[in-house]
């Protein structure tokens, strides 16, 4: 093992001594190729996986339509065995709205990042929620523009270092982050709003239940549904892969605690529009 400034680094200048071999194929039903192109330790493939598992389990694979935004997760838009419309950066909620209104039989969901949804296209998701569009927006929130190389977004937390907030985000220069799920939970058109995370097994399981519920509520046709999923971005955060789950808890996880923020479905366990955050 090589070292650099007392840190272990992987030597990538030659093939590894032990060749890679496939131990088992864990690829879920609706993802075509399990070997994704995102960074090791990235949270987005975990989030993507649980969404696709829910669609398969709810037997919706032949009426589902995914609408992708632009970010690292776009690498999944041509890797699903479910119909996909690739939208432009920020535009997925309007595209999903048009598709769902034109063909109400579709189970329509968006896959967007914080840069895509909360920066570039914020008015799209707010208006779609306020109109009560019968779509599910899934936000993969890592607090950075991962794709462009780790820049500050509207959800970057105070103190968090990014490529363009090298000393950490501060309110004087960069203002305050937007807590998007909390904002949407205030809108009458929203039927179900929840925030999960994928930085440990418990959170993954809870988040999957949130996605299940969002899709169930979409099928009830009573309003807009939203699941924010906090995801790791070790590359954009400039932290070691194994440190990323804890770093998530210390940054975006502090300001955005997981929970169901709103559920107005008649069969809801919680009373309407409960806020656990």
């Amino acid at each position: 093992m090589l070292e650099f400034e007392n840190r272990r680094i992987v030597d990538t200048s030659r093939p590894p001594e032990v060749p890679v071999k496939l131990v088992d194929d864990f690829t879920p039903e609706l993802i075509d190729v399990g070997a994704h192109h995102l960074c090791p330790g990235c949270g987005e493939p975990i989030a993507m996986r649980l969404v696709m598992e829910v669609l398969a389990e709810q037997e919706l694979k032949n009426r589902a339509l995914a609408v992708f935004g632009i970010g690292c997760y776009t690498a999944f838009s041509n890797n699903l065995d479910c119909e996909v419309v690739q939208a432009l950066h920020g535009r997925a909620p309007s595209v999903a709205t048009g598709a769902k209104r034109a063909d109400p039989n579709l189970v329509t969901f968006t896959v967007q990042g914080d840069g895509d949804m909360v920066n570039e296209g914020l008015q799209e998701v707010l208006h779609a929620a306020a109109r009560g569009e019968q779509i599910t927006c899934v936000l993969l929130n890592n607090g950075v523009f991962g794709e462009t190389g780790g820049h500050m977004t509207a959800t970057t937390t105070i103190g968090q270092r990014t490529k363009n907030t090298l000393e950490g985000r501060n309110t004087d220069d960069h203002g305050h982050p937007i807590r998007i799920a909390s904002l949407i939970a205030e809108l009458e058109g929203a039927a179900f709003v929840a925030r999960g995370a994928v930085n440990n097994a418990g959170n993954v399981a809870r988040t999957k239940r949130m996605v299940e519920r969002a899709i169930e509520v979409q099928l009830l046709g009573i309003g807009f549904t939203f699941v924010e999923i906090l995801t790791m971005c070790p590359t954009g955060w400039f932290v070691e892969t194994e440190e990323a789950p804890a770093y998530l808890d210390d940054t975006i996880g502090v300001a955005n605690s997981p929970g169901v923020l709103r559920d107005i479905a008649p069969d809801s366990q919680s009373s309407s529009s409960t806020t656990i955050s």
């Binding site: 890797n79 065995d81 996909v84 432009l88 034109a102 039989n105 579709l106």
Partner: protein
């Protein structure tokens, strides 16, 4: 004498405002999804669609901005629904990103640009990033707008590409006696690319993407270089197949040929007809498809001309295409003008028959064509 590629409809005429007639034409053409954001003179089309579509089971969306209007249209068109959106000037500028990428995603729709003046020519024919191209049709009056609206949907589906209709303030707000009935422009390919969810789980789920249709399971990632080259082939095929449209008049022996499109094209046609009756050897060319530009028609039309005069209700934009078409073989002079009225809604103070006639006469004189007494 005058040639136009647009046929004439039969049936009972009704007195309708242009905006309503265009909306009616969209509905009879089978349009069932419309999205827009109010902006004069596009607004009345949106109002009319909001009234007409719901009773037919269609959808009209009041989008939160033009960005979302074309986004909603993108999603609806992806399901194979006949879809339209539109705007004018600034609103069309907001749509340019999507408009350009719709070509790459190969999603057809109609975009109605009810321009305030003719200064949307550049953004209509050249707008957007990248190498996208689209057919742009410019009617001169309400009845032609009814025809071209329907033709626009047909061409969009035929070439799987957005088509734009370039209207204006006059067409939007003029009442004309028109016949609106469904036109058949021939067979269209099946929309086997349209999405309804059903291909999911089959191992061959459909994908509509401006990044291409490559799936990772086929051992290829997105390959933009390859995909853009493929789209380029489609666009070139479209341009080869589609015969550019134009109307010409009195060009056989014309000393000066005047070029104008849209409503001003109709004014110019009238002025040239009067000048001919008075003995002046002038002719006109009215481009109907602004893209592809009717280059060949124009070249043919100026064979006897000593000069070409271009009238536009702008500072001069189409004149670039006229010059490119003629490649310096004939001098080209601009006789149009800016939209100067305080509302800036497109009613140029110079759009009057005596003024236009005088400018044509002046253009004749400066080209060395002596008209004699009485002009």
């Amino acid at each position: 004498m005058t040639e136009t590629a647009v046929g004439t409809a039969t049936g009972t005429p009704r007195l309708m405002e242009g905006s309503e007639a265009i909306a009616e034409a969209m509905v009879v053409a089978g349009c069932r999804f419309f999205a827009g954001y109010p902006m004069t003179p596009f607004t009345e089309i949106l109002e009319s669609m909001a009234e007409k579509l719901p009773p037919l089971g269609g959808v009209c969306m009041n989008a939160e901005s033009e960005l979302e209007a074309i986004g909603m249209a993108w999603g609806a068109a992806a399901t194979g629904t006949r879809t339209a959106t539109g705007s004018t000037g600034q609103g069309l500028a907001l749509m340019q990103e999507s408009l350009a990428e719709l070509t790459l995603a190969r999603i057809p729709m109609l975009v109605i640009n009810m321009a305030r003046s003719q200064a949307d020519y550049f953004q209509a024919t050249r707008g957007g990033h990248g190498d996208s191209r689209r057919i742009v049709l410019a009617p001169m009056d309400v009845s032609e707008a009814v025809e071209l609206t329907q033709l626009g949907f047909h061409l969009a589906d035929l070439y799987r590409n957005p088509v734009m209709v370039y209207g204006d303030y006059y067409i939007a707000h003029t009442y004309e006696s028109v016949v609106v009935e469904r036109r058949d422009f021939g067979p269209l390919p099946a929309k086997d690319w349209a999405l309804d969810g059903s291909s999911g789980g089959t191992g061959a789920a459909k994908l509509l993407s401006p990044l291409g249709d490559y799936k990772q399971r086929d051992d290829v990632g997105y390959d933009l270089a390859d995909y853009y080259a493929r789209v380029e082939v489609e666009l070139t095929a479209m341009e080869t197949d589609f015969a550019p449209m134009a109307e010409t008049g009195f060009v056989e022996d014309a000393e000066v040929v005047v070029v104008a499109f849209g409503t001003p094209g109709k004014f110019v046609r009238y002025c040239v007809t009067e000048l001919r009756a008075e003995g002046a050897k002038v002719g006109f060319v009215r481009p109907i498809s602004l893209y592809p530009f009717p280059t060949e028609v124009l070249r043919e039309a100026v064979r006897t001309a000593r000069a070409v005069a271009v009238y536009e209700n702008s500072a001069g934009q189409m004149i670039d295409d006229v010059r490119l078409a003629l490649l310096g073989t004939v001098p080209v002079e601009f006789i149009g003008g800016l939209t100067m009225d305080s509302s800036a809604f497109g009613v140029g103070p110079d759009l009057q028959v005596p003024i236009i006639k005088q400018r044509i006469v002046d253009a004749c004189r400066s080209a060395g064509y002596e008209l004699g007494e009485g002009f």
